[in-house]
Symmetry: C2
Subunit: 335 residues, 2 copies
């Protein structure tokens, strides 16, 4: 690609919400090649004034909870009333990437064909700095392309939920009907991120159980301090099969957005989200630098062994490792 001509073309293409251009722009952002990624950042910098306008919803839940059918049901409804909807997946094992053990062929096929929808699977797992690293940028590109709603899907078992919750406006956790054991299986901290919990597959014989489960989650949410003082997280019921509860989820998202706007405005929130994202990228970069340091990685295991065996104190071990990390001679050796 020859800059800047093609960058101009991409800029116009993304602005016009051309799917091919948007796809190419995201590929640039996700590229493993520094020069291409920098082009992507240059493009994004030009598009930044057009970002920030979408309603951003994070959606998570364990495999089998029905994330893809829910996203298809919600996305199709939004498109039907003229909304442009983008769907992004963070984890390589999320449903968008076909991670389902059922190999369901109809996975979001209907939504993907809607001219108002843009469905983008997650980048590959071997991506530099973790698979979620570029999600925020991809989200911004989708906003610049004029999408009214961006749905970001994660699988709810990894580290990505916290990061996604920092970049979206509303975080929805899907749960299966069934109390007791299921409640015990909540990933630590997942419920704390929720602006709403949807007990999904609340249909047929499972409806009664789902109702009880929603009651229990409602009580559990009451024990947690709300993420922000003005919104009280709630537990909802829904079925993508019957189409029940989907509308209520969306009304809840809109109600939450009103509360958000009253509380301090969207612009301030977007600024905070950008800064939080920069801080996270810096932290990840620092971790990468440390892990890639040859002097450190050569002796970390040995030092850990000595601390484990009680030959060194933890402070002596930490000091030895940090000493290697900051020693310029070690650094040169490492190159």
């Amino acid at each position: 690609m020859r800059p800047p001509d093609d960058l101009d073309q991409l800029f116009e293409g993304v602005r016009a919400c051309d799917r091919v251009s948007l796809g190419r722009a995201i590929t640039l952002i996700e590229s493993g090649r520094d020069d291409r990624r920098e082009l992507g950042q240059e493009l994004l910098a030009r598009l930044l004034p057009r970002t920030g306008g979408a309603i951003r919803v994070g959606i998570t839940g364990v495999p089998g909870v029905g994330k893809s059918t829910f996203i298809e049901a919600l996305g199709t409804r939004l498109c039907a009333v003229g909304k442009r909807v983008a769907v992004l997946a963070v984890d390589p094992s999320s449903s968008l990437s076909g991670g389902s053990i059922l190999g369901d062929k109809s996975r979001m096929e209907r939504l993907a064909l809607d001219p108002l929808a843009f469905v983008r699977p997650s980048p590959s797992a071997n991506h530099l700095g973790g698979v979620a690293t570029r999600t925020h940028e991809t989200l911004l590109l989708c906003e610049a392309a004029g999408h009214d709603v961006v749905l970001v899907e994660t699988v709810g078992v990894g580290q990505s939920e916290t990061r996604v919750s920092e970049m979206v406006d509303f975080f929805l956790v899907l749960m299966l009907p069934g109390g007791g054991d299921e409640l015990q299986g909540i990933k630590k901290g997942l419920v704390e991120l929720a602006d709403a919990i949807l007990v999904h597959k609340a249909d047929g014989a499972a409806l009664e159980q789902a109702r009880a489960t929603a009651g229990e989650y409602g009580a559990a949410l009451g024990y947690l301090r709300p993420k922000n003082g003005s919104w009280k997280p709630r537990a909802l019921l829904g079925s993508s099969l019957d189409g029940t509860g989907i509308e209520e989820v969306w009304e809840t998202v809109l109600e939450h957005r009103e509360v958000l706007e009253r509380a301090g405005g969207l612009a301030a929130l977007r600024q905070e989200q950008r800064l939080a994202w920069m801080d996270r990228l810096i932290q990840e970069g620092l971790q990468r630098l440390f892990a890639a340091h040859v002097g450190v990685s050569n002796s970390l295991e040995e030092t850990r062994g000595k601390v484990k065996a009680g030959i060194l104190t933890p402070a002596q071990g930490a000091s030895a490792i940090l000493g290697l990390y900051t020693d310029p001679a070690q650094e040169r050796e490492a190159r």
Copy 2:
């Protein structure tokens, strides 16, 4: 101090559980001077084979919940049956350091006078690397001195709880009677760290309310995944004024320890705790290096401003900062 003579003396003194020697050893560990801290680490390395044997209990709760009266009640009982008890405080505002707004003069005075007890206030807040940095080492020194029980107090509003929970065997959260609003006030994640919650000040007119509160916390604990599969956290009732429930807390600690030992043995746990502590010290060291980098700190605010204003993308901002951090020229300039 002239090493190694005095180090030998301190070594013998700590081994003999001489309070003055133990106090001096802790002061070395906490010292702001590198040479003295290294002496402390040398001493600790020699004492390491004698560590790991105590029952370690973390105790937290908001100001006013009665941590110091509880610790005095529990500690006095343990001393009465011949146990050596050490009490450490992590935060400068914890009750041991006299952080009470009531200025209670009897603060652990009785316990501090017991020949079997060792009460050590927290290091000052301006301590290099945070106030909790040396707590693990102090705990090890107390163990080497032959204490059977080490109680570590934190105020339950900061970052120290997670770190303390990593170094103790049992983590106790004190709560006030009263549901509703109080339950809403739980610090995020605090309940998840608890091996038991004690609803304290459960006496007189507050007894009924305390009972209801304990029931509610018991239910809340049921919604959380246990820290380890074999222990189910529980909610207890107690009053240090009446002396009720204190015994039950201790029985719970002992029962938990049995479960721990069945689950994999204390030695394995102690190794894990030492490694976790080393990792934490390394992480804190990396953060300090970053914060102290002149090139970074000179331009961090400006870069944040540009990201906030939408002139740079978050990735461009992070890249610029990490570029400064890794640029050898910048590093030289910084010196």
